[in-house]
Symmetry: C2
Subunit: 529 residues, 2 copies
């Protein structure tokens, strides 16, 4: 690859980050929030300051695509969560894998699994490495060593079926490469998570990633036509079918399995024609709950906008989309087939029923005005965290879902629990904001962001206290521990309270059947039997 | 229940069946098809001609809702498939359960499972009994006895959440009772399979039933918000969530599990507001493949019609919807929220692009003209089979799905294989027709009907030869053994060729964890480990 290599600390590739202007904007907002100047108290760890234990296992020469080089091990130690950054600042890379393999095909994936079985090494699948829940951090869990399989060398669109609008795509394909290979065919997957540039198809499927569409097709799940997975017991492949009623779906067992059963090497994915018609814009509401009622009306109307996200007034202010006095809805329709004006018109009527005032509307509006400002801030967000943490700022997000009947009470309980936890953990008031990322006829997916000013050297522990209180409230109030970020290891304690105990038994039994040595991602989702 | 009891042979309740006029129509079509008068050669079995073995196990007095009465055992021997009828004619009720239990609540369901575990009796869940694939026929499989749990006494809508448009509904609720209880709330599940009157919510979920909507929401799967299932190891209940990314979906493991893991006692279901706006009608096409290309255009346009089904010319003729020279599309849009004219207009443009000519259009058109004629024939179809078999007619249906790129070749291969098998098995030409029941952006769900004139006394074997050849062709050509009829025991040999072998291992392991004695529906989907 000719692009600069991925950072071993922080988001993206070496040399990438916030511009001076973006950093000044983010910093000014943070200083205003905490009412104090922020001083740099830590530095990102240079590669040569990171000390790694000698590898406990090494790959044989036959695995020529595997390495135990210092950079590769360091760069595969963490995902991109706040506690990952906190440990990075402390130069704590103790979880580094012993071996990193970059297989170029399925046979090489299988060869790594075979070797790992003999060498007693755990195996961690790694896509773009953007996990924010401890999903790609290697663990030995009593085994001798730990290997990471990085799928980046399996990044091809292998076959395109224009008639059925589907393509066979390798699991290690990064978002931009995937879209670039589909574009000449006039097709698109339209899966644009915030992590789009640094995440892969296999990762999206393994974690049930949430994407572009705010309604209807929200999760990658619905776009999977068939899967091919390499497990320690062999290859599992499902048929290409538009729909089936033949027993429980084999794909649905693999979707969301977070690497505990096997490695997704390729998938037939359902695609879209590239949109040619667009309508959209921002709509202002007096407050978040009023905006939410308009969202409910739209989501129950069968209009299926591509975007129908709302920001509370504080979040709209923080991202520069509004002045802090109003909630904002970002509304958009798109189609490759027909003018969307009747759809947009009816959705704006639903907004007007709840006092919503359009800021601007028309083709192209989704990239302009409040909607466009928010969109840019959203995409650059991950770069801000690695700069703010150097100044002692704790900020993170978590996402959930709840039915409409419980939403307002749910929102208030979580908002209060998180705000109180910030005060208790840091001795200083912070901020909690909320937006909707996806919406369903039966309820929204609220996405919370929190900001706190912590104590350098103690940031990880303070973060943990806040996040734990927030997730306690989510689980106690009936929500899901994650709507699209996944479970990984960080969310396990709350997932264990959410997941039916007998389903854990079934998962454990299935894992034992497919991964008898328990080498794949031990501790993710379930513990061994 | 004050309604007449269910028949022990044939469709529906005692006293129900084709009118003389309907029977004459069906008979005339059949006689024209085979070019011969049809003579009655068999009689339906009166209850007192059915001999049952003495029960191998009986329920204790504490299970006051269980019985070993002759009628109850006979009426729970079969589903409603053609071979079930053929064995009925032969008075072969050897599969009758020893005990039929009608639990009134979850505790009574659990009590039956507990008793069956001690008595070494297999357990067959029974909803409306409309299985057409051997899904409700009791088997002992080496165990001492066989019990059927009929859920009909658990038929309540327990709670309605109008805000989220969802309801908590018991698993044994029949279609009409379900809709009747939702109607006062202005809500509807809109799940209307052909078996609607004689099937239950739990059955729809256990078999991944296909319903009202021809596009978008085709399977019951998407309407399940949460499930409660009684397994031999205890109760498994999922959270009510509009969407979640927390591990593989627990519900998706139960949906389509056909009773092998447990008994679905209740579910929170996503509902619709009752439609207030409608548009639709029939569209004529010169042939089936041309109509199919119009269906593909509509299904890829993002319009989501509630109906978008096509009939080939022979099927349109057989049901009285057309004269045999044209293929027919039944097209409809419905909405509780908005006028659907722009949607219908664009869909008709897609039809016109392929030479489609609307027969009639407008509100109410879905119940009139060719569309209405077909709809009535469709609903009355199951009553015809039990009359025709008495005259030696073999007729049955099977349904599958395939991606668009392979559809035409697939259709021709199956059509030819089935037609040839009819000739080979019966020595006489029969007929094979096709329609689409559901369509997806990546492919259709073709539904085949075949008609043959068989030899009285040998009908079951002839049917088996024809159906086997048809399903061989389906599996060899890349389709699914079932799109929405389920697998049961009849489709097992082909399901075994379709299902990934490692997924079978995972299912077997999960079953062992939830049903260690292997008592629930043995032989359905998988064999024991």
């Amino acid at each position: 690859m000719s692009a600069p290599r991925l950072k071993h600390f922080g988001w993206g590739r070496q040399g990438e980050g916030l511009s001076a202007e973006e950093e000044a904007f983010v910093l000014a907002r943070a200083e205003a929030r905490f009412g104090t100047k922020l001083q740099v108290s830590a530095t990102a760890p240079p590669l040569d300051e990171i000390k790694l234990a000698a590898p406990r296992v090494t790959a044989p020469a036959s695995l020529s695509f595997a390495t135990s080089d210092h950079y590769d091990r360091a760069a595969h130690t963490f995902g991109k969560s706040y506690p990952d950054l906190a440990r990075g600042l402390a130069r704590d890379y103790a979880s580094a894998p012993d071996v990193v393999a970059y297989p170029r095909n399925e046979a090489e994936v299988a060869a790594v699994l075979d070797w790992a079985g003999g060498a007693d090494a755990t195996v961690t699948p790694f896509g773009g490495g953007s996990s924010v829940c401890g999903g790609v951090e290697p663990k030995r869990n009593g085994h001798k060593g730990a290997a990471t399989i990085d799928l980046r060398a399996m990044g091809k669109v292998k076959e395109v079926d224009k008639t059925s609008r589907a393509a066979l795509i390798e699991g290690g394909t990064y978002g931009p490469a995937l879209e670039a290979q589909l574009k000449p065919h006039g097709l698109t997957l339209r899966h644009f998570p915030q992590s789009f540039e640094y995440s892969t198809l296999g990762g999206w499927i393994a974690t049930r990633g949430g994407g572009h569409f705010a309604t209807l097709y929200t999760h990658i799940d619905d776009f999977v036509e068939s899967l091919r997975v390499v497990t320690p017991k062999g290859i599992m492949e499902s048929r290409r079918l538009p729909g089936s009623g033949a027993g429980p779906s084999p794909d649905r067992m693999m979707i969301g399995s977070e690497g505990i059963f096997g490695i997704i090497t390729q998938a037939w994915m359902r695609l879209q024609a590239r949109p040619a018609f667009r309508g959209g814009g921002a709509v202002r509401f007096k407050d978040f709950f009023t905006a939410a009622r308009a969202v409910r009306a739209i989501s129950q109307a069968g209009l299926y906008p591509s975007n129908c996200r709302i920001l509370d007034s504080a979040e709209a202010y923080n991202t520069g989309a509004a002045d802090g006095s109003v909630a904002i809805m970002v509304l958009a329709f798109e189609s490759a087939d027909h003018d969307v004006t009747p759809w947009m018109k009816r959705a704006l009527e639903c907004c007007a029923d709840h006092g919503g005032t359009p800021e601007a509307a028309g083709a192209g509006a989704h990239r302009e005005g409040a909607a466009g400002v928010w969109r840019n801030a959203f995409i650059r967000m991950p770069y801000a965290m690695e700069r703010l943490i150097l100044r002692g700022v704790i900020n993170d997000t978590f996402e959930t879902s709840i039915t409409w009947d419980r939403f307002e009470q749910f929102h208030d309980a979580i908002h209060a629990a998180t705000g109180n936890a910030i005060l208790e953990a840091t001795g200083r008031k912070g901020q909690v904001t909320c937006r909707f990322t996806h919406v369903y006829p039966d309820g929204p997916a609220p996405y919370f962001t929190f900001h706190a000013l912590g104590e350098p050297g103690n940031l990880g522990a303070q973060w943990h206290a806040i996040k734990s209180a927030a997730l306690d409230a989510v689980i106690e109030s009936g929500g899901t521990v994650t709507h699209h970020h996944a479970v990984g290891r960080d969310h396990r304690p709350w997932y264990d309270r959410q997941r039916p105990p007998l389903f854990a038994e079934a998962l454990r039994a299935a894992k034992k059947a497919l991964d008898p040595q328990g080498l794949l991602n031990p501790g993710v989702l379930i513990d061994p039997a």
